[in-house]
């Protein structure tokens, strides 16, 4: 069981242990010697003079040294940690699950992690097997179960934090898989900074029975941190060229006092604007820069806080503004009134600009000149035109069907095979809301970084029921769990089915502020431009176009992240990632920016008990915390340091034994013998 000392400085007094030894060896001849008539005969006897430097009474010396050590330890006020160390946990596998989210980049946390790891490697018995799992939004096995401490040490040293958010369940599930393969219960030790922002991602998978689950908080209490948590870029055209209004969201939490900082915006490496603002102790500040000129081509924007704090990684935010290319959207609406809100919404805004062409029915010529076909409550065609539509999508085009009451009717015709969902009737329930938006998807990228979910204010009275198919991904749901937005990628193209009423007869969405970015986001994504999102969150995947030949991705540090067979890249490094064809050259085909999720900027901590909630305890699983890196509260330590009394008692017993032993046998005779010197008497 690990223990510590309330007053460890007093342990320096252990140096006094040398005193009995030195006194014995060096002062031995200085004490009163035993008088003897003459050394005449003793001097003739060969004597091993080196015995002067030898210990002549080991038992007494050891007893006295031990008594002294106990006295020193008692005054240093030892305490026992209530938690159970892995040493005493079990003889099974110990899995160290290390948080690698961006918030772990805090220098104090890294120091605590290093100390805790060193303590752990000391505490776990030498023969104990250890595995290391690193996790953020996903988990990675850093070290397979081994008894080699060097491998463990290397794996832990390499477990550097990335730019992703915290998702405890990913690491815990990986650890549970490892422990489940063991014949006997093991120990799961979670090393995390207990970031409160991750509590929403908490949750513990079912652990193998008998598993000991320990959380090792690496830090406690609030931590001051400021971060650039979002960037809003509104490009607009002028006769002189493209410009943009840029606003950044600066977040701060855990501060003790307001502080001033300078926020700088750079475009393609040049400083475009700079603003000085006072940051509050807690909260968000919106900083609006002067309008900046943007190139027609893809632009790279960086917003930076000039005074880095304890977590510099989130003091920078990267964003990419796509090239100024208009998207042609073919709006297919059966009636003249249908799709007015959509048409209007798509027509607003630039960068990219959307050119809407409205038709009552689809024809091949219109299809050929469009990038996106938007069916507004109108069934897609079948037959030859339907085949053409399939080819259109395979070649990179986009098809969006906004389902309404017409296609919801039986035989409504919304059964085109390429669509990711089919409509199964209509649901009527006043006050239906939207939720669970997949903000990582480019179609909903406009809603990232917002504190409140803007889609949550939408109220729906009636909506079609969607049944996803063909691998369709649900990006938005109604509050009854049914799909509200389903997307899919087919070939080089994209398809989407929207069940959220885009007319006022089904709800109030068209008059909500979120309507315009929603419609534009879906259309732009379907058009392929938003396939290169302006900024990804750490942990998001980057899906590359299928038309690319030998795609090569270059990370900000020059590394080459792996492009898997599905043309998916999982960038981990914050900054600009460039996509090339063939080999990494100078002009990338596409650029994407990666930033840490906004929630990682809030370094407030939660209690370990909050994380442990929900862990099953009825199957023998034990939960608890271990305290390395987090000093217990002083009051708690006071309650745990009663052991000094026992140490004092033991020291007293030892000293009593010392007196008893020293007064028995030859020791007693030696000390009691008095040499009589008569002097002049008698």
């Amino acid at each position: 069981m690990p223990f510590g000392f309330l007053v460890p400085v007093l342990l320096a007094a252990l140096g006094a242990l040398a005193a009995p030894l030195l006194i014995h060896l060096r002062q031995r001849d200085r004490r009163r010697p035993r008088a003897f008539p003459s050394l005449m005969f003793l001097a003739r006897v060969p004597i091993q003079t080196d015995r002067r430097k030898r210990i002549t009474d080991w038992p007494l010396l050891l007893i006295r040294a031990l008594a002294l050590a106990l006295l020193v330890a008692a005054f240093a006020r030892p305490y026992l940690r209530r938690s159970v160390s892995p040493e005493g946990a079990s003889a099974g596998l110990t899995v160290l699950v290390v948080d690698r989210s961006q918030s772990m980049a805090d220098s104090a946390v890294q120091a605590a992690l290093a100390d805790s790891v060193a303590a752990l490697l000391r505490e776990i018995p030498g023969g104990g097997r250890i595995a290391v799992v690193g996790y953020a939004i996903s988990a990675e096995l850093l070290a397979a179960p081994t008894t080699d401490r060097a491998i463990i040490g290397t794996a832990l040293a390499a477990a550097k934090p990335g730019a992703a958010a915290t998702r405890h369940v990913a690491g815990l599930r990986a650890a549970a898989d490892l422990l489940g393969a063991e014949p006997i219960p093991g120990t799961l030790l979670l090393l995390t900074d207990m970031q409160a922002a991750a509590i929403g991602a908490a949750g513990v998978p079912s652990l193998p029975p008998g598993t000991r689950f320990r959380v090792m908080p690496l830090v406690s209490g609030p931590r001051d941190n400021a971060a650039v948590r979002g960037l809003e870029v509104r490009p607009f055209g002028t006769p002189a060229g493209r410009r943009a209004a840029v606003a950044a969201e600066i977040f701060r939490a855990g501060g003790l006092a307001e502080r001033s900082t300078t926020i700088t915006l750079t475009v393609d490496g040049r400083v475009a604007s700079s603003v000085e603002r006072i940051l509050p102790t807690e909260g968000t500040v919106r900083v609006t820069f002067d309008t900046v000129a943007l190139p027609r081509t893809t632009a790279r924007l960086v917003v930076r806080l000039d005074e880095p704090d304890r977590l510099p990684a989130d003091d920078v935010f990267h964003a990419v503004v796509a090239a100024d290319e208009a998207i042609r959207v073919l709006l297919v609406a059966a009636s003249p009134d249908a799709g007015r809100f959509v048409e209007r919404a798509l027509s607003i805004g630039r960068a990219p600009a959307v050119v809407v062409e409205r038709v009552r029915s689809l024809d091949a010529a219109a299809l050929a000149r469009s990038a996106v076909v938007w069916f507004q409550d109108s069934p897609p065609p079948d037959g030859t035109l339907g085949e053409a539509l399939n080819q259109f999508v395979e070649a990179g085009g986009g098809v969006v069907m906004a389902a309404g009451s017409l296609v919801s009717r039986p035989g409504g015709g919304a059964a085109l095979d390429l669509l990711p969902a089919v409509v199964r009737g209509e649901a009527e329930r006043d006050g239906t809301t939207l939720g669970e938006p997949a903000l990582s998807h480019p179609a909903l990228a406009a809603f990232r970084g917002t504190t409140l979910d803007p889609l949550a204010t939408v109220r729906v009275r009636r909506h079609p029921r969607l049944e996803p198919r063909n691998g369709g991904r649900t990006l938005l749901r109604f509050d009854d769990g049914s799909a509200a937005l389903v997307t899919s990628s087919i070939g080089a193209g994209r398809t989407a089915v929207i069940a959220v009423p885009l007319e006022l007869d089904g709800g109030d969405f068209p008059v909500q502020a979120s309507f315009l970015p929603f419609v534009r986001g879906v259309a732009i994504w379907a058009g392929g431009l938003a396939a290169q999102p302006t900024a990804l969150d750490g942990g998001d995947v980057w899906r590359l176009s299928a038309s690319l030949v030998q795609p090569v991705v270059r990370s900000p540090s020059g590394d080459r992240p792996e492009v898997n067979d599905g043309l998916v890249v999982l960038p981990a490094e914050a900054g600009f990632h460039e996509l090339f064809e063939g080999s990494a050259g100078t002009v990338p085909v596409a650029v994407v920016a990666l930033n840490a999720p906004g929630g990682e900027a809030d370094l407030g901590t939660m209690l370990p008990e909050e994380l442990l909630l929900g862990v099953a305890t009825d199957d023998g699983t034990e939960t608890g915390t271990v305290g390395w890196g987090q000093p217990p509260a002083a009051v708690e330590l006071e309650h745990q340091q009663a052991g000094w009394r026992w140490l004092l008692l033991l020291a007293a017993l030892l000293l009593g034994a010392d007196v008893w032993i020293a007064s028995r046998g030859w020791r007693g005779a030696a000390s009691n013998q008095v040499v009589t010197t008569a002097g002049g008497g008698g």
Binding site: P33, A35, I47, A670, A678
Partner: protein, 301 residues
Amino acid sequence: MNRVAPSALLDPAVLAGIDDLALLSRMIVDGFVSGTHRSRQTGLSLDFAQHRVYQPGDDLRRIDWRLYGRTDKFFLKTYEAETNADVLVALDVSASMDFGSGALTKFRYARILLAALAWLARRQGDRVGFVPLGGADLAGIIPPASRHLPLVLEALSRLVPEGSVALGEALARLARMAGRTGILVVVSDCYDDASAIQHGVGALQARGWDVVLFHVLDPAERDFDYEAPDTFADLETAARLAVDPGEVRAAYNAAIDNHITALRTLVGDGGADYLPLTTDQPLDGALRQWLERRHRPVGGR
């Protein structure tokens, strides 16, 4: 002081409680004598002993005129009384004598022994003197005389053991200085080479002295029965030596035994009397040794 049997005063444990040396020595002798049969040798006598040839300078009053009338030669009559001798008691006053692990230190034991011997000698009619063996000269010497017993006892009472004494050299120096001869009783712990002691004793014998050497040892000094390792300090030189008694005891005992054997051989076989004593031994052995010595004529063996 409680009444005790006179013979009990021979026990060193009893002697340790008595300070008055004169009283003590008298009580010892009384106790010793009362336990033995009186003999001629123990009392004063004026009986005729022998004739010897007149030598110039002899007292004419002591010429045996009757014998002259028969032999026409001058002879002197000598009597037993005239065999009374000068008894010089010598005490080693070196610091090494100031040691005792029991009731008595060697020095006190030696003082009592000498006082008793002096008293006994005086009781036999001998003339008693005293010489301390210590220091560079023989200052404090009390020449033998019939009335010097109180002075001898007084000197014994006031002596303090200190310094170191080379016994052989001291005895040789005494031989050179002492004019009259007689019986020399030496009490010492004999911390000197046996050959040097034999040399000193031999010098005295050459001058006509009968030497009786009492070698006094403390039991701890003789047996070296210490157990704990310790640093031992020489009482005479203050030199120190760290010793594990368990390791050196056998060799030390052998060295002591060799020393005693050498003294017995060199001194005893040379014509002197040698008696080793330990301070836990009763005094009667020493007194009996004295009487045996005194039984013999002075100057003879």
